[in-house]
């Protein structure tokens, strides 16, 4: 059936694959700055794929959402994060709880699970880009894994944001985007969230004079 796939669909699948690849890269990446750049690239790819979907399906509001993505995920958020890193001079390596290779293996398993789960659904999809749903799920899960394994508050945030990327991928490619009002709301929430986090970082740094979250294990019952 591959012959039946139109070019745009192939493009979209390609972009989806790239996003997945970037997700893995982020999982493997040790340095914070590089991590943020990877995140920005992921956003860019997402934006491109959204554009392709928009062109190929003529869904006008997808242009807006592509623009939104560009603005938010490629320019604004990375810029904020970079500033934070500079301000808080988080130079040190990102040390993971589990070592990288193991993480990669677990990630691989997750991808398989994600495809497995998504399969019956993509069967039913009538959109040209049904395969991407599984990828989106995989990206979400990888981001989740990253949040679990990383120790720095800031990397957790990056993981959180790339999870949002995965969701956006699902929204745009699988369902040609949510209603505009919803997308705006989501974008707003993400933005506000990141700003609040930014404020938080400084306070956390003041209180714990570090951004390592293993300082924040005081509240417990056992």
């Amino acid at each position: 059936m591959s012959s039946a796939i139109p070019f745009s669909a192939q493009l979209i699948n390609l972009f989806a694959a790239v996003i997945l690849l970037l997700a893995f890269a982020m999982l493997a990446q040790r340095r914070v700055v590089a991590l943020i750049n990877l995140f920005a690239m992921q956003g860019l790819t997402l934006c491109l794929s959204t554009l392709v979907v928009a062109v190929s399906t003529g869904q006008s509001h997808l242009y807006y959402s592509a623009g939104l993505t560009l603005l938010l995920k490629v320019l604004l958020l990375p810029w904020i994060l970079h500033r934070l890193v500079r301000k808080l001079n988080v130079k040190s390596e990102v040390e993971a709880l589990i070592n990288i290779p193991t993480t990669m293996l677990v990630g691989l398993v997750l991808v398989m699970i994600a495809f497995n789960v998504a399969l019956p659904i993509s069967e039913l999809s009538h959109t040209i880009t049904r395969g991407t749903l599984g990828i989106a799920l995989a990206v979400v899960m990888l981001a989740f894994l990253m949040m679990i394994t990383r120790q720095k508050a800031i990397t957790q945030v990056v993981g959180f944001l790339s999870m949002e990327n995965g969701l956006f991928l699902a929204a745009t490619s699988a369902t040609y985007g949510m209603p505009m009002v919803v997308e705006l709301g989501i974008a707003l929430d993400v933005l506000v969230g990141v700003i609040i986090l930014g404020v938080f970082f400084f306070q956390i740094r003041d209180q714990f004079d570090s951004l390592d979250i293993h300082h924040m294990e005081r509240l417990k019952d056992n």
Binding site: M147, L167, L219
Partner: protein, 483 residues
């Protein structure tokens, strides 16, 4: 003027105002007045809905029926009483130097915005907007929880943010899947996320997708409800935030999250053959109840303990809705009401108690009824009520849930009773010495606001002995909507 618009506008506007003028002397009063206005508007809206049935607003984006108007009324009411309570409480905190003026301003504005977010989440017809509003509620409460800026409160807020953020992201994925499923029936029109449309076609939605989406939604919003093992943020946030915030978190936010799950459950039930959603919720409910019950006995911090008690009751309610059917839904709704009223009353009392004694550690709090009989009795009666002691209303709902469970899920009854029994032993054993016994009091600059406590307890007592017919009809209608 339209009650609904008022109800949403008042908190939004006053929130904005308070952000600016929050440091003026009249700010606290504005906070209370705004809440009062919201409550009046909500009451008017309720009367309107009860009179002429469901209605839309802002096109089809908002929809108020007897189910959510009941939550709206409850939310507005508890919001009002909490604002009344927080007046003297916050002033005392300020006198103790735990809070600066800007913080107070932040508190008031965030409080109003939080109310706005919850009311929007309750009344919206668009599952997407529902998600957005939930996220907004989370963000506002994150700021409220971290109000003290102590390491502990920061840690709590951080955990709250991350866990709920992740959870809510999963909920978003579930929403997308739902949209994905709906689109195939309703086409790519913008109203594929409108509940009123979805409910009409719920039979045609693809079961597999719906199942997947419900799992994501349950895990996502369930994190906010505090279902074990997704509950870990809850005790921290309750214990470290200011007490009024704990009150609204326990009394309102959890309800709203559960409401979101309920809306989705209705759709899932329609789409998926075999009581799939119900079974999941029963499982989560029982597990949560048991886990929370055993957590209770190890608590040292009073607010933390009552946070776990909230988790326990959320488990019970989830179980009730999981059983489904008019009776169980009725019981669930009733229990939600009772829990909100009682638990917020308890937190009011606890707040004053902790201020009086200057600690949240239970072994340092003694002889409350010597310090201030009203606070002491408020805490004692509230505790007994939340433990399901007649003649308080919590017993009524627990009675209905238990009897219904005995009839349809006999195997679950021992688990329920075990949980309730353990919780009783744990909580009462800790509260009794706090209330009774000897101690020395501590002067407070501002007299505590006792009225909200006894107002709530009075209503709970009344409902335990007599549920007015119109309320019954209303509950029944709401229960029917949940199928």
């Amino acid at each position: 003027m339209d009650f609904f618009v008022l109800m949403l506008a008042i908190p939004l506007v006053s929130g904005a105002l308070l952000t600016v003028f929050g440091e003026c002397d009249w700010a606290p009063n504005l906070n209370i007045i705004a809440s009062l206005g919201t409550f009046l508007a909500a009451a008017g809206l309720t009367a309107e809905i009860v009179a002429n049935g469901p209605r839309f607003a802002f096109g089809e984006q908002f929809f108020i029926d007897s189910l959510n108007v009941f939550f709206v009324a409850l939310t507005a009411f508890v919001g009002l009483t909490t604002s009344i309570f927080s007046g003297p409480y916050m002033r005392n905190e300020a006198e103790h130097g735990r809070l600066t003026k800007p913080r107070l301003r932040l508190y008031k504005s965030m409080y109003q915005l939080f109310m706005f977010a919850m009311l929007a989440a309750l009344t919206t017809n668009n599952l997407g907007i529902l998600w957005v509003a939930m996220e907004a509620a989370t963000l506002t409460t994150v700021l409220l929880v971290s109000l003290y800026r102590t390491p502990a409160s920061l840690e709590a807020a951080w955990k709250y943010f991350i866990l709920c953020g992740v959870g809510i992201a999963q909920a978003l994925f579930g929403t997308i899947l739902l949209y994905f499923a709906a689109e195939r029936v309703l086409g790519e029109s913008g109203n594929a996320l409108l509940w009123t449309h979805l409910i009409d076609v719920k039979g045609q939605l693809e079961p597999n997708i719906m199942a997947l989406s419900f799992i994501f939604l349950l895990v996502g919003y369930g994190t906010k409800v505090g279902l074990a093992p997704l509950h870990n943020w809850l005790p921290d946030a309750h214990a470290e935030g200011p007490t009024p915030v704990s009150a609204v978190l326990s009394g309102l936010l959890l309800n709203v999250a559960l409401y979101a799950i309920l809306r989705c459950k209705v759709l899932a039930d329609g789409a998926i053959p075999g009581d799939f959603a119900g079974k999941l919720m029963i499982g989560f409910g029982l597990f949560t109840l048991l886990v929370a019950a055993f957590f209770l006995s190890r608590q040292k911090d009073v607010k933390r303990m009552f946070a776990y008690s909230s988790i326990e009751h959320m488990g019970l309610i989830t179980f009730a809705f999981g059983m489904g059917g008019p009776v169980a839904n009725f019981a669930g709704l009733l229990h939600m009401t009772m829990h909100s009223l009682t638990k917020s009353a308890i937190f009011f009392a606890v707040g004053h108690a902790t201020q009086k004694t200057g600690t949240q550690l239970m072994e340092n709090i003694r002889g409350l009824i010597r310090i201030n009989p009203l606070i002491g009795w408020g805490l004692m009666l509230g505790t007994l009520a939340i433990l399901g002691m007649p003649p308080f209303g919590v017993f009524a709902s627990e009675f209905m849930i238990l009897t219904h469970a005995m009839k349809h899920y006999p195997w679950a009854t021992p688990v329920l009773l075990l949980g309730l029994g353990v919780a009783f032993a744990a909580i009462f054993g800790k509260v009794q010495p706090m209330v009774f016994g000897e101690t020395e009091a501590k002067r407070l600059p501002h007299a505590p606001a006792i009225t909200p406590v006894f107002l709530h307890l009075g209503i709970v007592l009344m409902l335990g002995l007599y549920i007015p017919p119109y309320l019954t009809r209303w509950f029944h209608e709401a229960a029917r909507m949940l199928g």
